[in-house]
Assembly symmetry: C2
DNA sequence: CAGTGGTCTAGACCACAAT
DNA sequence: TTGTGGTCTAGACCACTGC
Protein backbone atom coordinates (compact mmCIF):
# COMPACT_ATOMS: atom_id res chain seq x y z
CA UNK A 1 0.00 0.00 0.00
CA UNK A 2 1.02 3.58 -0.41
CA UNK A 3 0.75 6.93 1.36
CA UNK A 4 -2.86 8.02 1.82
CA UNK A 5 -2.16 11.52 0.53
CA UNK A 6 -5.32 13.26 1.59
CA UNK A 7 -5.23 15.38 -1.50
CA UNK A 8 -5.09 18.75 0.24
CA UNK A 9 -2.78 17.78 3.07
CA UNK A 10 0.45 19.74 2.82
CA UNK A 11 2.38 18.53 5.83
CA UNK A 12 3.96 15.10 5.44
CA UNK A 13 2.61 12.37 7.64
CA UNK A 14 5.77 12.07 9.71
CA UNK A 15 5.24 15.66 10.75
CA UNK A 16 1.87 14.84 12.25
CA UNK A 17 3.55 12.01 14.14
CA UNK A 18 6.15 14.49 15.37
CA UNK A 19 3.52 16.94 16.61
CA UNK A 20 1.74 14.11 18.38
CA UNK A 21 4.98 13.19 20.11
CA UNK A 22 5.74 16.80 21.05
CA UNK A 23 2.41 17.04 22.87
CA UNK A 24 3.20 13.82 24.65
CA UNK A 25 6.69 14.98 25.60
CA UNK A 26 5.29 18.14 27.16
CA UNK A 27 3.33 16.04 29.61
CA UNK A 28 6.33 13.96 30.68
CA UNK A 29 9.39 14.44 32.84
CA UNK A 30 12.96 14.15 31.49
CA UNK A 31 13.95 10.50 31.58
CA UNK A 32 10.43 9.17 31.03
CA UNK A 33 10.07 6.65 28.23
CA UNK A 34 7.90 7.33 25.20
CA UNK A 35 6.10 4.43 23.49
CA UNK A 36 8.22 2.02 21.48
CA UNK A 37 8.58 2.50 17.74
CA UNK A 38 6.49 -0.56 16.98
CA UNK A 39 3.76 0.54 19.34
CA UNK A 40 3.63 4.02 17.80
CA UNK A 41 3.48 2.41 14.38
CA UNK A 42 0.34 0.53 15.40
CA UNK A 43 -1.24 3.36 17.39
CA UNK A 44 -0.84 5.91 14.63
CA UNK A 45 -1.59 3.48 11.80
CA UNK A 46 1.63 4.11 9.91
CA UNK A 47 4.93 2.41 9.16
CA UNK A 48 7.96 2.16 11.36
CA UNK A 49 10.01 4.18 8.87
CA UNK A 50 7.64 7.11 9.24
CA UNK A 51 7.69 6.90 13.01
CA UNK A 52 11.47 6.78 12.97
CA UNK A 53 11.67 9.87 10.77
CA UNK A 54 9.66 11.82 13.35
CA UNK A 55 11.72 10.41 16.22
CA UNK A 56 14.96 11.29 14.41
CA UNK A 57 14.04 14.97 14.24
CA UNK A 58 13.05 15.07 17.89
CA UNK A 59 16.36 13.46 18.82
CA UNK A 60 18.14 16.02 16.65
CA UNK A 61 16.34 18.81 18.46
CA UNK A 62 17.43 17.44 21.79
CA UNK A 63 13.92 16.56 22.87
CA UNK A 64 14.39 12.78 22.99
CA UNK A 65 17.27 10.38 23.51
CA UNK A 66 17.40 6.86 22.14
CA UNK A 67 19.05 3.97 23.90
CA UNK A 68 19.49 0.89 21.78
CA UNK A 69 18.04 -2.20 23.36
CA UNK A 70 16.28 -0.12 25.95
CA UNK A 71 13.95 2.50 24.52
CA UNK A 72 13.41 6.16 23.71
CA UNK A 73 13.23 8.72 26.48
CA UNK A 74 12.48 12.38 27.10
CA UNK A 75 15.78 14.32 27.10
CA UNK A 76 17.21 16.77 29.61
CA UNK A 77 17.07 20.46 28.67
CA UNK A 78 20.02 22.07 26.90
CA UNK A 79 22.98 23.48 28.81
CA UNK A 80 24.31 26.99 28.12
CA UNK A 81 28.03 27.44 27.52
CA UNK A 82 29.63 30.91 27.51
CA UNK A 83 31.93 32.07 24.75
CA UNK A 84 34.78 33.80 26.56
CA UNK A 85 38.54 34.13 26.32
CA UNK A 86 38.94 32.31 29.59
CA UNK A 87 40.10 28.71 29.43
CA UNK A 88 37.80 25.74 29.43
CA UNK A 89 38.92 24.79 32.94
CA UNK A 90 38.25 28.25 34.37
CA UNK A 91 34.91 28.52 32.59
CA UNK A 92 33.64 25.31 34.09
CA UNK A 93 34.91 26.20 37.55
CA UNK A 94 33.15 29.57 37.37
CA UNK A 95 29.82 27.81 36.92
CA UNK A 96 30.48 25.28 39.66
CA UNK A 97 31.32 22.28 37.50
CA UNK A 98 34.25 19.90 37.47
CA UNK A 99 36.11 20.10 34.18
CA UNK A 100 38.47 17.40 33.04
CA UNK A 101 40.35 16.81 29.82
CA UNK A 102 41.46 13.63 28.14
CA UNK A 103 44.38 13.86 25.75
CA UNK A 104 43.51 11.76 22.73
CA UNK A 105 46.48 12.47 20.53
CA UNK A 106 49.36 14.93 20.34
CA UNK A 107 51.44 14.79 17.19
CA UNK A 108 53.58 16.98 15.02
CA UNK A 109 52.67 17.13 11.38
CA UNK A 110 52.99 19.28 8.29
CA UNK A 111 50.46 22.07 8.21
CA UNK A 112 47.92 22.11 5.43
CA UNK A 113 47.55 25.34 3.52
CA UNK A 114 44.62 26.56 5.60
CA UNK A 115 46.32 25.89 8.94
CA UNK A 116 49.65 27.32 7.79
CA UNK A 117 48.02 30.54 6.74
CA UNK A 118 46.12 30.89 10.01
CA UNK A 119 49.25 30.36 12.09
CA UNK A 120 51.44 32.57 9.89
CA UNK A 121 53.68 29.70 8.78
CA UNK A 122 55.08 28.72 5.45
CA UNK A 123 53.04 26.00 3.75
CA UNK A 124 54.29 22.63 4.94
CA UNK A 125 55.69 24.07 8.20
CA UNK A 126 55.44 21.80 11.23
CA UNK A 127 52.56 22.18 13.66
CA UNK A 128 51.40 20.49 16.81
CA UNK A 129 48.07 18.81 16.32
CA UNK A 130 46.48 18.19 19.70
CA UNK A 131 43.22 16.38 20.01
CA UNK A 132 41.46 16.40 23.35
CA UNK A 133 38.13 15.42 24.81
CA UNK A 134 36.57 17.92 27.19
CA UNK A 135 34.41 16.56 29.98
CA UNK A 136 32.18 18.35 32.46
CA UNK A 137 31.19 16.40 35.54
CA UNK A 138 32.45 13.29 33.77
CA UNK A 139 30.28 13.53 30.66
CA UNK A 140 31.90 14.35 27.31
CA UNK A 141 31.13 17.89 26.19
CA UNK A 142 33.36 18.69 23.24
CA UNK A 143 35.98 17.17 20.97
CA UNK A 144 38.77 19.68 20.34
CA UNK A 145 41.51 19.75 17.75
CA UNK A 146 44.16 22.44 18.31
CA UNK A 147 46.90 23.52 15.96
CA UNK A 148 49.96 25.48 17.14
CA UNK A 149 53.31 26.23 15.54
CA UNK A 150 55.83 23.49 16.39
CA UNK A 151 58.80 25.83 15.98
CA UNK A 152 57.38 28.38 18.35
CA UNK A 153 56.31 25.93 21.06
CA UNK A 154 58.95 23.16 21.17
CA UNK A 155 58.11 20.17 23.32
CA UNK A 156 54.54 21.25 23.81
CA UNK A 157 53.11 17.78 23.27
CA UNK A 158 55.20 16.36 26.11
CA UNK A 159 54.13 19.10 28.51
CA UNK A 160 50.47 18.35 27.86
CA UNK A 161 50.68 14.67 28.64
CA UNK A 162 49.22 15.04 32.09
CA UNK A 163 46.08 16.83 30.94
CA UNK A 164 47.33 20.27 31.98
CA UNK A 165 45.50 23.31 30.71
CA UNK A 166 46.94 24.32 27.36
CA UNK A 167 46.64 27.99 28.20
CA UNK A 168 48.52 27.47 31.46
CA UNK A 169 51.38 25.72 29.67
CA UNK A 170 51.55 28.48 27.09
CA UNK A 171 51.75 31.11 29.81
CA UNK A 172 54.07 29.37 32.25
CA UNK A 173 56.42 27.68 29.81
CA UNK A 174 56.43 30.03 26.87
CA UNK A 175 55.23 33.36 28.25
CA UNK A 176 52.49 33.56 25.67
CA UNK A 177 48.99 34.67 26.46
CA UNK A 178 46.21 34.82 23.87
CA UNK A 179 44.03 37.84 24.54
CA UNK A 180 41.82 38.14 21.47
CA UNK A 181 40.17 35.64 19.19
CA UNK A 182 37.97 35.39 16.18
CA UNK A 183 35.35 32.71 16.50
CA UNK A 184 33.06 31.16 13.94
CA UNK A 185 30.06 29.04 14.82
CA UNK A 186 28.33 26.69 12.44
CA UNK A 187 26.28 23.54 12.31
CA UNK A 188 27.64 20.20 11.19
CA UNK A 189 26.83 16.52 11.33
CA UNK A 190 28.63 14.02 13.55
CA UNK A 191 30.93 11.51 11.87
CA UNK A 192 31.17 8.03 13.42
CA UNK A 193 34.41 9.04 15.13
CA UNK A 194 32.99 12.20 16.69
CA UNK A 195 29.79 10.40 17.60
CA UNK A 196 31.73 7.76 19.49
CA UNK A 197 33.75 10.22 21.57
CA UNK A 198 30.71 12.32 22.37
CA UNK A 199 28.43 9.35 22.98
CA UNK A 200 25.93 10.30 20.36
CA UNK A 201 24.92 9.06 16.92
CA UNK A 202 26.48 9.37 13.50
CA UNK A 203 24.60 12.12 11.74
CA UNK A 204 23.61 13.94 14.93
CA UNK A 205 23.55 17.75 14.62
CA UNK A 206 26.62 19.45 16.06
CA UNK A 207 27.71 22.97 16.90
CA UNK A 208 31.23 23.58 15.62
CA UNK A 209 33.17 26.39 17.23
CA UNK A 210 36.39 27.47 15.49
CA UNK A 211 38.64 29.78 17.45
CA UNK A 212 41.57 31.66 15.99
CA UNK A 213 43.42 33.31 18.88
CA UNK A 214 46.08 36.02 19.03
CA UNK A 215 48.48 37.64 21.49
CA UNK A 216 48.22 41.32 22.42
CA UNK A 217 50.84 41.95 19.73
CA UNK A 218 48.51 40.42 17.16
CA UNK A 219 50.53 37.25 16.58
CA UNK A 220 48.48 34.14 15.90
CA UNK A 221 48.80 31.54 18.66
CA UNK A 222 46.34 28.78 18.11
CA UNK A 223 43.68 27.58 15.74
CA UNK A 224 41.24 25.21 17.35
CA UNK A 225 38.06 23.56 16.29
CA UNK A 226 35.64 22.26 18.94
CA UNK A 227 32.71 20.00 18.22
CA UNK A 228 29.79 20.19 20.65
CA UNK A 229 26.62 18.14 20.66
CA UNK A 230 23.97 20.46 19.29
CA UNK A 231 21.21 18.62 21.09
CA UNK A 232 22.81 19.28 24.46
CA UNK A 233 24.55 22.65 24.40
CA UNK A 234 23.91 26.23 23.33
CA UNK A 235 26.41 29.07 23.25
CA UNK A 236 25.99 32.36 25.06
CA UNK A 237 27.89 35.58 24.35
CA UNK A 238 27.71 39.27 25.25
CA UNK A 239 27.84 42.05 22.72
CA UNK A 240 28.24 45.77 23.01
CA UNK A 241 28.53 48.67 20.57
CA UNK B 1 17.09 -9.47 1.07
CA UNK B 2 18.79 -7.82 3.99
CA UNK B 3 21.91 -5.78 4.73
CA UNK B 4 25.07 -7.72 3.94
CA UNK B 5 26.66 -6.85 7.29
CA UNK B 6 30.21 -7.79 6.58
CA UNK B 7 30.62 -9.00 10.08
CA UNK B 8 33.44 -6.70 11.11
CA UNK B 9 32.25 -3.57 9.35
CA UNK B 10 31.46 -0.88 11.88
CA UNK B 11 30.39 2.01 9.68
CA UNK B 12 26.88 1.75 8.30
CA UNK B 13 26.56 1.33 4.58
CA UNK B 14 25.02 4.76 4.02
CA UNK B 15 28.22 6.22 5.44
CA UNK B 16 30.30 4.59 2.74
CA UNK B 17 27.90 6.05 0.19
CA UNK B 18 28.37 9.45 1.81
CA UNK B 19 32.15 9.22 1.64
CA UNK B 20 31.93 8.20 -2.00
CA UNK B 21 29.80 11.26 -2.69
CA UNK B 22 32.15 13.56 -0.77
CA UNK B 23 35.03 12.51 -2.98
CA UNK B 24 32.90 13.15 -6.01
CA UNK B 25 31.80 16.57 -4.74
CA UNK B 26 35.42 17.61 -4.28
CA UNK B 27 36.01 17.14 -7.98
CA UNK B 28 33.02 19.24 -9.04
CA UNK B 29 32.11 22.92 -9.17
CA UNK B 30 29.19 24.42 -7.23
CA UNK B 31 26.05 23.98 -9.27
CA UNK B 32 27.19 20.76 -10.95
CA UNK B 33 24.74 17.87 -10.77
CA UNK B 34 25.58 14.65 -8.98
CA UNK B 35 24.15 11.36 -10.27
CA UNK B 36 20.45 10.74 -9.70
CA UNK B 37 19.29 8.75 -6.72
CA UNK B 38 18.26 5.80 -8.86
CA UNK B 39 21.57 5.79 -10.70
CA UNK B 40 23.54 5.86 -7.45
CA UNK B 41 21.38 3.02 -6.18
CA UNK B 42 22.44 0.91 -9.13
CA UNK B 43 26.08 2.03 -9.23
CA UNK B 44 26.65 1.35 -5.54
CA UNK B 45 24.50 -1.78 -5.41
CA UNK B 46 22.27 -0.57 -2.63
CA UNK B 47 18.73 0.67 -2.08
CA UNK B 48 17.34 4.10 -2.75
CA UNK B 49 16.60 4.57 0.96
CA UNK B 50 20.26 4.13 1.79
CA UNK B 51 21.35 6.52 -0.93
CA UNK B 52 18.83 9.07 0.30
CA UNK B 53 20.11 8.79 3.87
CA UNK B 54 23.60 9.71 2.66
CA UNK B 55 22.28 12.52 0.47
CA UNK B 56 20.21 13.88 3.37
CA UNK B 57 23.29 14.32 5.55
CA UNK B 58 25.21 16.04 2.78
CA UNK B 59 22.31 18.39 2.21
CA UNK B 60 22.21 19.07 5.94
CA UNK B 61 25.89 19.90 5.88
CA UNK B 62 25.38 22.36 3.08
CA UNK B 63 27.36 20.32 0.57
CA UNK B 64 24.48 19.49 -1.76
CA UNK B 65 21.15 21.03 -2.69
CA UNK B 66 18.16 19.11 -3.96
CA UNK B 67 15.69 20.43 -6.49
CA UNK B 68 12.58 18.34 -6.88
CA UNK B 69 11.88 17.36 -10.42
CA UNK B 70 15.32 18.50 -11.45
CA UNK B 71 18.14 16.81 -9.58
CA UNK B 72 20.75 17.10 -6.85
CA UNK B 73 23.57 19.62 -7.18
CA UNK B 74 26.81 20.68 -5.50
CA UNK B 75 26.05 23.60 -3.14
CA UNK B 76 27.68 27.00 -2.83
CA UNK B 77 30.05 27.45 0.14
CA UNK B 78 28.69 28.87 3.40
CA UNK B 79 28.46 32.61 4.00
CA UNK B 80 29.84 34.20 7.17
CA UNK B 81 27.62 36.55 9.12
CA UNK B 82 29.06 38.75 11.88
CA UNK B 83 27.50 38.98 15.33
CA UNK B 84 27.54 42.69 16.15
CA UNK B 85 25.33 45.27 17.80
CA UNK B 86 24.87 47.07 14.49
CA UNK B 87 21.57 46.61 12.72
CA UNK B 88 20.92 44.06 10.03
CA UNK B 89 20.72 46.78 7.38
CA UNK B 90 24.05 48.34 8.37
CA UNK B 91 25.75 44.97 8.63
CA UNK B 92 24.80 44.02 5.10
CA UNK B 93 25.77 47.42 3.73
CA UNK B 94 29.19 47.14 5.39
CA UNK B 95 29.89 43.96 3.43
CA UNK B 96 28.61 45.37 0.17
CA UNK B 97 25.27 43.61 0.04
CA UNK B 98 21.74 44.87 -0.46
CA UNK B 99 19.62 44.11 2.59
CA UNK B 100 15.85 44.16 2.45
CA UNK B 101 13.18 43.22 4.96
CA UNK B 102 9.67 41.91 4.47
CA UNK B 103 7.21 42.49 7.26
CA UNK B 104 5.26 39.28 7.71
CA UNK B 105 3.16 40.16 10.71
CA UNK B 106 3.03 42.86 13.37
CA UNK B 107 0.56 42.25 16.17
CA UNK B 108 0.03 43.09 19.80
CA UNK B 109 -0.52 40.17 22.11
CA UNK B 110 -0.27 39.12 25.72
CA UNK B 111 3.27 38.18 26.70
CA UNK B 112 3.95 34.65 27.78
CA UNK B 113 5.82 34.21 31.05
CA UNK B 114 9.22 33.88 29.38
CA UNK B 115 8.81 36.99 27.20
CA UNK B 116 7.32 39.05 30.05
CA UNK B 117 10.27 38.27 32.27
CA UNK B 118 12.80 39.14 29.59
CA UNK B 119 11.16 42.49 28.88
CA UNK B 120 10.60 43.34 32.53
CA UNK B 121 6.79 43.25 32.25
CA UNK B 122 4.10 41.79 34.44
CA UNK B 123 2.91 38.41 33.17
CA UNK B 124 0.17 38.99 30.62
CA UNK B 125 1.38 42.49 29.75
CA UNK B 126 0.96 43.51 26.13
CA UNK B 127 3.86 43.16 23.72
CA UNK B 128 4.46 43.81 20.05
CA UNK B 129 5.19 40.63 18.19
CA UNK B 130 6.90 41.50 14.91
CA UNK B 131 7.77 38.81 12.43
CA UNK B 132 10.02 39.72 9.53
CA UNK B 133 11.91 38.03 6.77
CA UNK B 134 15.45 39.25 6.17
CA UNK B 135 16.78 39.10 2.65
CA UNK B 136 20.27 39.70 1.32
CA UNK B 137 20.57 40.37 -2.39
CA UNK B 138 17.03 39.11 -2.73
CA UNK B 139 17.51 35.68 -1.16
CA UNK B 140 15.93 34.94 2.22
CA UNK B 141 18.51 34.82 5.00
CA UNK B 142 16.69 34.74 8.31
CA UNK B 143 13.21 34.64 9.79
CA UNK B 144 13.01 36.97 12.79
CA UNK B 145 10.46 37.27 15.56
CA UNK B 146 10.88 40.33 17.79
CA UNK B 147 9.12 41.11 21.04
CA UNK B 148 8.98 44.62 22.52
CA UNK B 149 6.85 46.19 25.23
CA UNK B 150 3.66 47.62 23.75
CA UNK B 151 3.28 50.19 26.54
CA UNK B 152 6.76 51.51 26.04
CA UNK B 153 6.62 51.71 22.25
CA UNK B 154 3.06 52.75 21.30
CA UNK B 155 2.19 52.56 17.62
CA UNK B 156 5.37 50.71 16.75
CA UNK B 157 3.64 48.27 14.44
CA UNK B 158 2.29 51.09 12.28
CA UNK B 159 5.69 52.75 12.01
CA UNK B 160 7.26 49.55 10.73
CA UNK B 161 4.81 48.98 7.92
CA UNK B 162 7.14 50.28 5.27
CA UNK B 163 9.97 47.94 6.14
CA UNK B 164 11.95 50.58 8.02
CA UNK B 165 14.82 49.48 10.20
CA UNK B 166 13.50 48.68 13.66
CA UNK B 167 16.55 50.19 15.30
CA UNK B 168 16.10 53.41 13.37
CA UNK B 169 12.46 53.71 14.45
CA UNK B 170 13.44 53.06 18.06
CA UNK B 171 16.07 55.78 17.93
CA UNK B 172 14.20 58.41 15.91
CA UNK B 173 10.72 57.93 17.31
CA UNK B 174 11.39 56.83 20.85
CA UNK B 175 14.93 57.95 21.60
CA UNK B 176 15.93 54.45 22.59
CA UNK B 177 19.18 52.85 21.56
CA UNK B 178 20.15 49.30 22.51
CA UNK B 179 23.87 49.16 23.23
CA UNK B 180 24.45 45.76 24.80
CA UNK B 181 22.95 42.34 24.21
CA UNK B 182 23.13 38.80 25.41
CA UNK B 183 22.99 36.31 22.59
CA UNK B 184 22.48 32.58 22.60
CA UNK B 185 23.18 30.36 19.62
CA UNK B 186 21.80 26.89 19.17
CA UNK B 187 20.85 24.36 16.55
CA UNK B 188 17.27 23.51 15.65
CA UNK B 189 15.28 21.87 12.90
CA UNK B 190 13.14 23.74 10.39
CA UNK B 191 9.37 23.45 10.73
CA UNK B 192 7.30 23.50 7.51
CA UNK B 193 6.53 27.18 8.08
CA UNK B 194 10.17 28.20 8.55
CA UNK B 195 11.23 25.99 5.68
CA UNK B 196 8.81 27.72 3.35
CA UNK B 197 9.94 31.23 4.19
CA UNK B 198 13.60 30.29 3.95
CA UNK B 199 13.15 28.15 0.85
CA UNK B 200 14.55 25.03 2.42
CA UNK B 201 13.14 21.70 3.62
CA UNK B 202 11.22 20.73 6.70
CA UNK B 203 13.75 19.14 9.03
CA UNK B 204 16.73 21.09 7.67
CA UNK B 205 19.31 22.08 10.31
CA UNK B 206 19.04 25.68 11.46
CA UNK B 207 21.11 28.11 13.51
CA UNK B 208 18.90 29.94 15.97
CA UNK B 209 20.19 33.23 17.33
CA UNK B 210 18.34 34.72 20.30
CA UNK B 211 19.21 38.29 21.18
CA UNK B 212 18.20 40.01 24.39
CA UNK B 213 19.17 43.66 24.05
CA UNK B 214 19.45 46.50 26.58
CA UNK B 215 19.93 50.27 26.72
CA UNK B 216 22.98 51.85 28.33
CA UNK B 217 20.88 52.17 31.48
CA UNK B 218 20.39 48.43 31.51
CA UNK B 219 16.71 48.46 30.58
CA UNK B 220 15.59 45.58 28.36
CA UNK B 221 14.48 46.75 24.92
CA UNK B 222 13.90 43.77 22.71
CA UNK B 223 13.93 40.03 22.69
CA UNK B 224 14.33 38.58 19.23
CA UNK B 225 14.82 35.14 17.82
CA UNK B 226 16.31 34.73 14.34
CA UNK B 227 16.32 31.50 12.38
CA UNK B 228 19.13 31.08 9.86
CA UNK B 229 19.68 28.22 7.46
CA UNK B 230 22.53 26.22 8.97
CA UNK B 231 23.56 24.87 5.61
CA UNK B 232 24.16 28.36 4.25
CA UNK B 233 25.41 30.61 7.05
CA UNK B 234 27.95 30.62 9.86
CA UNK B 235 28.34 33.22 12.58
CA UNK B 236 31.53 35.12 13.29
CA UNK B 237 32.37 37.00 16.47
CA UNK B 238 35.37 38.64 18.12
CA UNK B 239 36.39 38.01 21.70
CA UNK B 240 38.84 39.68 23.99
CA UNK B 241 39.85 39.26 27.62
C1' DC C 1 5.42 13.06 -21.30
C1' DA C 2 9.52 11.06 -19.04
C1' DG C 3 12.50 11.64 -15.34
C1' DT C 4 13.56 13.80 -10.96
C1' DG C 5 13.23 14.02 -5.99
C1' DG C 6 9.51 13.25 -1.82
C1' DT C 7 7.01 10.16 0.91
C1' DC C 8 5.43 5.86 2.55
C1' DT C 9 4.92 0.78 3.19
C1' DA C 10 5.93 -4.00 4.91
C1' DG C 11 9.12 -6.69 6.26
C1' DA C 12 13.80 -8.47 7.00
C1' DC C 13 18.03 -9.19 9.97
C1' DC C 14 21.34 -6.97 13.12
C1' DA C 15 23.25 -5.22 17.78
C1' DC C 16 22.25 -4.40 22.21
C1' DA C 17 19.80 -4.36 26.96
C1' DA C 18 17.07 -6.29 30.33
C1' DT C 19 15.19 -10.33 32.36
C1' DT D 1 15.19 -15.25 25.40
C1' DT D 2 12.53 -11.37 24.48
C1' DG D 3 12.06 -6.85 23.19
C1' DT D 4 14.33 -2.59 22.00
C1' DG D 5 16.35 0.51 18.61
C1' DG D 6 19.62 0.34 14.01
C1' DT D 7 20.01 -0.63 9.29
C1' DC D 8 18.60 -2.07 4.87
C1' DT D 9 15.66 -3.72 0.97
C1' DA D 10 12.29 -3.51 -2.94
C1' DG D 11 8.83 -1.32 -4.57
C1' DA D 12 4.83 1.78 -4.66
C1' DC D 13 2.58 6.40 -5.73
C1' DC D 14 3.05 11.42 -5.34
C1' DA D 15 4.62 16.32 -6.78
C1' DC D 16 7.33 18.75 -9.56
C1' DT D 17 10.53 20.05 -13.66
C1' DG D 18 11.76 20.35 -18.14
C1' DC D 19 11.49 18.82 -22.73
Amino acid sequence: MVAPDERFTRAPKYYAVKQHLLELIDTLQPGSPVPTERLLTAQLATSRTTVRQALAELVGEGRLVRRQGSGTFVAEPKVSWPLQMTSFTEQAAATGHAATTELIEATREKAGDAVAERLGLHPGGLVHRIERLRLVDGTPMALETSHLSAARFPGLARLLKRGDSLYRVLRDEFGVEPVTAEETIETAVASPREAEYLQTDTGAPMLVLSRHSFTAAGEPVEWVQSWYRGDRYRFVTRLSV
